[in-house]
Amino acid sequence: MIKIILFFLKKYINSPKKEWLRFDSVFMILGIIISVATLTIALSIFEGYETVLKDTILSVNSHVYFYNSEVGNLQNEDVELIQEKLQNKSEVVSSSALIISQVIAAKGNRIKGSIVRGINWEQDDLPNKYRESIWEGSWKLDKENSAVIGFRLAKELNITIGDEFKLISTMNSKMTPMGLKPKESTFTVVGLYKSGMYEYDTKFIYIDIRDMAEFNSMQNEFTMVEVKLKPEMIEKADYLAYLWQHEFDYKYQITSWIDFNSNLFTLLKMEKWVIFIILSFLILIASFNVVSSISTSILEKRMELGILKAYGATDKLLQNIFVSKTLILALLAVSIGQVLGVLIAKFLSWQRFFVLKGDVYFLDKINVQFGITSWLIILGVSIVIVFFASLIPIKNISRLNITNIIRKA
């Protein structure tokens, strides 16, 4: 059967009449191309968004975090214990202790709520991508009270490298005769930080961990220990955190970047499916054209079909020929649609007229990524839809009455 079908397909493609360039089949092809392209654009932008968001989150946050299981901070010996144990673990690349605190950054009359992170900036294998995220200036925090701040924060405070600004902590207020006086220190900007994540770039300030201890008056205390994992373990961070929890006798609260952002990622996954389902309806609508195109074609070819039937061709064979014809066209259309979709998406990510709202979407740049999975799913779904659509009209083939066709010539 395959042989005959192939023979017919070859003839169909080479046919001098170029039947597949006809109005209704061109419409069918265009319909599929447009809907597949739309779906591809949406999914590739969404996937790009998801990936870049994840990368960005990971670049700032490392993978596993150890906190004190009760309220309070980690002590020096906790940090030593944790780091000693982690050293022998094959999953771990590096770890580092840090102090995090909420502060107010101020310059003149501009103020901004910020998060300051005191880090071991000298450590070469720092668990996060602090050094890689420096946009301008230096990552070295060697001078006393130097700071690297998010580039958007710098813009908001209207300061740049070399400028001084104030950090104000409400946590360490001192009682003075004038009333409660918050702790205040002056820092100098040595570098600007750009992660791509709107939230971070508007809030983060990095300073030396010793300056931080000084500023916060918390000697030998740390907010947490962050841990960087081997690449292949990153996606299993939540499981690892769960295992370690037990291993460390529940002395520490151990979480992972996955737990931390689980709401966000669940939401993203769900949104992706919603986009996919809604846009699949486009393909469904496009496949109405498939029904009408095949119906027209059957009507037009009824003479041939009648003769082939008279000469012993089974309905099954003729139906398969029509379905294969349609599937080949659909395959072509889907491929074109996918390529077109990726191109358009690439263009959207390249152009600068239209950008995302960073405060809403975390990122402001449109990123594009089109993975093999999406590619296969779109291909599969559209071919299946077209296939089922083509089954509707081909029933008419078995209803064709040979004698009626032959008489009406």
Partner: protein, 225 residues
């Protein structure tokens, strides 16, 4: 043993004006090697009878035997049976326009054997025998009416069917080409023992057949020459 035996075949059509009884008990026996003409005025039911014989349409009552085997539309291998046992030639050629002459001829054999090469070789042989070998690569619309009809005959012959049913095969041809085509059929009958049943208006053609029947008032009567 008769090749085909038709007993009391009836067929009617429902029309707006009522029931139209076209065949009202047709009896006919065809033997291998026969050439049979079926005449009758227009609307007498010649085509209808041929379609019934060729198992292209259902009949109301009666029986059709092929080599003593009762065959009807419910026969489960009907497609295969039609493909192997019956060749059709119609008033107009009904060649497939997307296929060349030789591909058209090869088609029934290709459907049957799935062997395209062999089918093409056989098709070329036939076209040669019918003096069409220089036309084999032409598409139907590049052929004259006579050539088209000869190609159609070649197609009917390719599976060496037990019987060839021809419904006014010369209907669209001029006198000269009609004569040529009929002579060709007679020749094929003599040399290859092909069996023909031909429906025709043309009494001259009918006279050239071994047996001649006339269809009138729904029944078939042999016309003695």
């Amino acid at each position: 043993m008769s090749l085909i035996k038709i007993e009391k075949l009836t067929k009617s059509y429902l029309e707006a004006s009522g029931k139209l009884e076209v065949l009202q008990g047709v009896d006919l026996e065809v033997f291998t090697g026969d050439t049979i003409a079926i005449t009758g005025e227009s609307g007498s039911g010649k085509s209808t009878l041929l379609h019934m014989m060729g198992m292209l349409d259902d009949y109301d009552s009666g029986k059709i035997y092929y080599s003593d085997k009762l065959i009807d539309l419910n026969y489960n291998k009907l497609n295969e049976f039609r493909n192997k046992s019956i060749g059709f030639v119609f008033q107009s050629h009904y060649l497939l326009e997307d296929f060349t002459a030789e591909e058209n001829v090869a088609m029934p054999m290709f459907i049957n054997t799935k062997d395209f090469k062999k089918s093409l070789i056989k098709a070329r042989e036939l076209l040669k025998a019918l003096d069409l070998d220089n036309r084999k690569d032409h598409y139907p619309n590049e052929l004259s009416g006579g050539e088209q009809q000869r190609v159609a005959v070649a197609r009917a012959l390719i599976n060496s069917p037990q019987i060839i049913l021809a419904d006014e095969p010369t209907g669209n041809l001029d006198v000269k080409h009609s004569e040529e085509l009929i002579n060709m059929l007679i020749e094929l009958n003599k040399t290859k023992k092909h069996t023909f049943v031909i429906a025709t208006h043309n009494l001259e053609i009918a006279a050239k057949m071994q047996k001649c029947f006339e269809l009138a008032n729904g029944v078939l009567k042999e016309v003695t020459k």
